[in-house]
Amino acid sequence: MSDAIIHEVTQSEYKYGFTTDIETEVIPPGLNEDVVRLISTKKNEPEWMLEFRLKAFRQWQKMKMPDWTHLNIPEIDYQSISYYAAPQKKSISSLDEVDPEILATFEKLGIPLEEQKILSGIAVDAVMDSVSVKTTFKETLAEKGIIFCSFSEAVQEHPDLVKKFLGTVVPACDNFFAALNSAVFSDGSFVYIPKGVRCPMELSTYFRINTQNTGQFERTLIVADDESYVSYLEGCTAPQRDENQLHAAVVEIIAMKHAEVKYSTVQNWYPGDKEGNGGVYNFVTKRGICKGESSHISWTQVETGSAITWKYPSCILMGDNSTAEFYSVAVTNHFQQADTGTKMIHLGKNTSSRIISKGISAGLSQNSYRGLVKVGANAENARNFSQCDSMLLGDKCGAHTFPYMEINNESAIVEHEATTSKISEDQIFYCNQRGISTEDAIGLIVNGYAKEVMDKLPMEFAVEAQKLLQISLEGSVG
């Protein structure tokens, strides 16, 4: 990432906490069928899209928040949230038309929205308060037949593709938050990589919640056709606010025959302050399907933000010989709570998956890994290896591990290892002796501990993520 962001993140507390003054169109708080219809109308959506939303909404009304987590989720008043907020200006065709304030915001975030940042080689779709602001490099990508655009645009321009794949991996009523998202999502990103195409650059979406009292409900759909490849990055920040903000996203990935999708996230939503005020509630459903044979999906996540995180990027290994990976670092400090992990569902033959999860808890936080490895009765020769480690910094935090293994085929080999331990005092001392401060030593050690995961991040994200780890833990040593 650019120097700006490195500079930003090296400052101690949450540095993304600014708000942007732009004219925003916000609909009044509250949720009912009319609101769902209004969102759909505002987005000028076709009838089938509205139907999809309404169906989800009706189901959602009958559903309950999940209660099996190791999270303490305060009562959320879904009627006090505004479900649509959009920067006023619409249908931007060139960067000149984008509100300079917005550009400045993304500038601050270090997001190369400008065309001249071509050298950094990342195509970005920036989503502010649920609405996609600008997608760069669209033309370059279009030459290869790659579609990378905002979700709303995809609904207008590529309705057949959207209709074909939307909700096929995460059904509209998969769970409480997915249903809510399906009903009210306002925008997000859409990616389609045609057969045989290797996407020449990293695709990236930057999400930002700006407006007060709004929830962000974006939706991402990535379709990688036969023998294609794409690496996708997702970053998120939010302003510092005393009240909690709700973020409920859905990501769906479809990998066809021999296709490969890498999805990396650096999640840095506002975590709340040291006293536990404010912060984002991050309830996300991410799931990919290795649909074709020999396809591959890889999730990498660095989770440092949010007051509460509820998120299990998962893979369904349906195609024979398909492979999937989940690499995660989750850091919690102060009053943060995280319940995160993955599900690997083996259905095809000769499928293999790998799970590496590193949890780091500090302060008064609670950090849980929750994961499922399931081997179906016909999934011959399935392989899974899981390693879930937790590190504790301080004696008032908690680290928990809840893996589930359900094996219905005798040819499976499933291995799980987990350890929980304190940060090594010997290592800190060794660093101290070499003149390294304890704070820096912890940064070093934690980064070393998380290295296996960090190495999986694309270069552009790795530096930022490293800094983030260090910052999130500042003030965690007594």
Partner: protein, 447 residues
């Protein structure tokens, strides 16, 4: 389905109480009220995802509230004359303690009391009052509640301060009936400060009818006391064996729980070890051999409530045919329980296409100076080792057996009574060879 039990209780609670003791009756109505409101858990309940209680309780069972004597003389049926396993031997037939004959056991060490729980409640009310229901009270489990409402008797053992038992105590649970039978029995075991005892529990089913045994044991282990608990299950495919063991450990105490299941129908072991003093040691291990339609679900919880305690858990399953195994291992480290070491390992071998295993290790940790780990593996027998053995001329089935014995070996090594370890080794090997029949009487004592 709960309804039949609710009605049964309402109709017969007087009878149940009349045939039990005042102390046991004290919490009965409250337990019943709780059961009435909660019912049996469905498989949606986190703790019972892998064992469905509903079908096993929906049959029309007999319950022996009147405490009629069943025509059985366990002393004749179960001649235990294997010299290696010298023990004090006691029987619980269905849900009632079987009055022992002195000539079979000689006399117990000074101060030790072993008798039926009903008898103990009448003869030693202060002792029983001090302990009975103390560990079950905070629990919120349907099987315990159900047991507390219906159980009338069971096994009672008291080992006073600093008494070291000279021989293991053997408790043989026998299910004996001509009609389908449901038995609730309740055990209370008190090992006082500095005392030492070993209990060997053998579960058997004698008749070809459907049995449900729902047993709850409360175990109190005092400061510096040592308690070893071995359980061998060799019942049959119509037995549902539900067992809850709650262990309370005081400072510097040491417990071992070792479970071996060879033949059964559906088994569910709920084991909870709570370390309520510093420097406790707890070891929990099990070897489960499943074939046919056997179902074995071990649900264990180890609570590290105080600093400097160590726990070690090892569960192994070998599953064949359409058998199902489940293991839940919850380790809970309380705030300030520093210097905790907790290790857990679950290893499973699936021998057939249709065998299934569910594993759920759980670490919940609220202290930082801890060393905790768990591992779980499911796989097959090591192909390389098999090949190596075959190049030495060992046939494939024999090589497989050798590797399976090796697999079971470390659970058996945890048995601290050498003669019992030898016997268990022999039995496990026989079972793995498919030569151990179901309910052949006392397998431990058979020649």
């Amino acid at each position: 389905m709960e309804k039949q039990y609710i009605e049964l209780y309402k109709a017969h609670h007087q009878l149940i109480k009349q045939n039990s003791a005042a102390i046991i009756n004290r919490s009965r109505d409250a337990a019943f009220a709780k059961f009435e409101s909660m019912g049996f858990p469905s498989t949606k309940h986190e703790n019972y995802r892998y064992t469905d209680l509903k079908p096993m309780f929906s049959l029309d069972y007999g319950l022996n509230f009147r405490r009629l004597n069943f025509p059985v003389n366990p002393y004749q049926t179960f001649q235990c004359d294997v010299p290696e396993i010298y023990s004090y031997q006691f029987f619980v037939v269905n849900d009632s303690f079987y009055p022992p004959k002195k000539k079979h056991n000689g006399s117990l060490p000074e101060g030790v009391i072993i008798c039926g729980l009903k008898e103990a409640s009448e003869k030693y009310p202060e002792l029983v009052t001090q302990y009975y229901g103390k560990l079950t009270a905070p629990q919120n489990d349907a099987l315990i509640t159900f047991n507390e409402a219906f159980a009338q008797d069971g096994f009672f053992m008291y080992v006073p301060e600093n008494v070291h038992m000279d021989k293991p105590v053997q408790l043989v649970n026998i299910m004996r009936s001509d009609v389908d039978l449901l038995a609730n029995s309740r055990n209370l075991i008190i090992i006082e400060k500095g005392a030492k005892a070993q209990l060997l529990v053998c579960d058997h089913a004698m008749d070809d009818v459907n049995f449900v045994a729902n047993r709850v044991s409360e175990v109190f282990v005092g400061e510096n006391a040592v308690y070893e608990n071995y359980k061998l299950e060799n019942t049959h495919n119509k037995t549902a064996n539900l067992s809850t063991v709650l262990i309370d450990q005081k400072e510097s105490s040491d417990t071992l729980t070792n479970l071996i299941t060879l033949n059964n129908g559906i088994s569910r072991n709920n084991i909870e070890v709570e370390m309520n003093g510093e420097k406790c040691e707890a070891e929990l291990c099990g070897m489960m051999v499943g074939g046919g339609q056997q179902q074995i679900d071990n649900h264990t919880t180890i609570k590290h409530n105080k600093p400097n305690c160590h726990s070690n858990e090892l569960f192994k399953y070998v599953l064949d045919d359409v058998s199902k195994g489940a293991f839940t291992g919850r380790i809970f480290v309380e705030k300030d329980a520093q210097q905790t070491w907790a290790y857990q390992l679950n290893r499973n071998i699936l021998l057939s296409k249709k065998a299934k295993v569910r594993t759920r290790p759980q670490l919940e940790i609220y202290a930082d100076d801890v060393k905790c780990s768990h591992g779980a593996t499911t796989g097959q027998i090591d192909e390389q080792a098999l090949f190596y053995m075959r190049t030495r001329g060992i046939s494939l089935p024999e090589a497989r057996l050798l590797l399976m014995y090796a697999f079971a070996a470390d659970v058996i090594e945890n048995i601290r009574i050498p003669s019992l370890a030898n016997r268990m080794k022999m039995l496990v090997e026989k079972r793995l060879r498919g030569e151990l029949g179901m309910h052949e009487g006392c397998t431990l004592c058979m020649h």
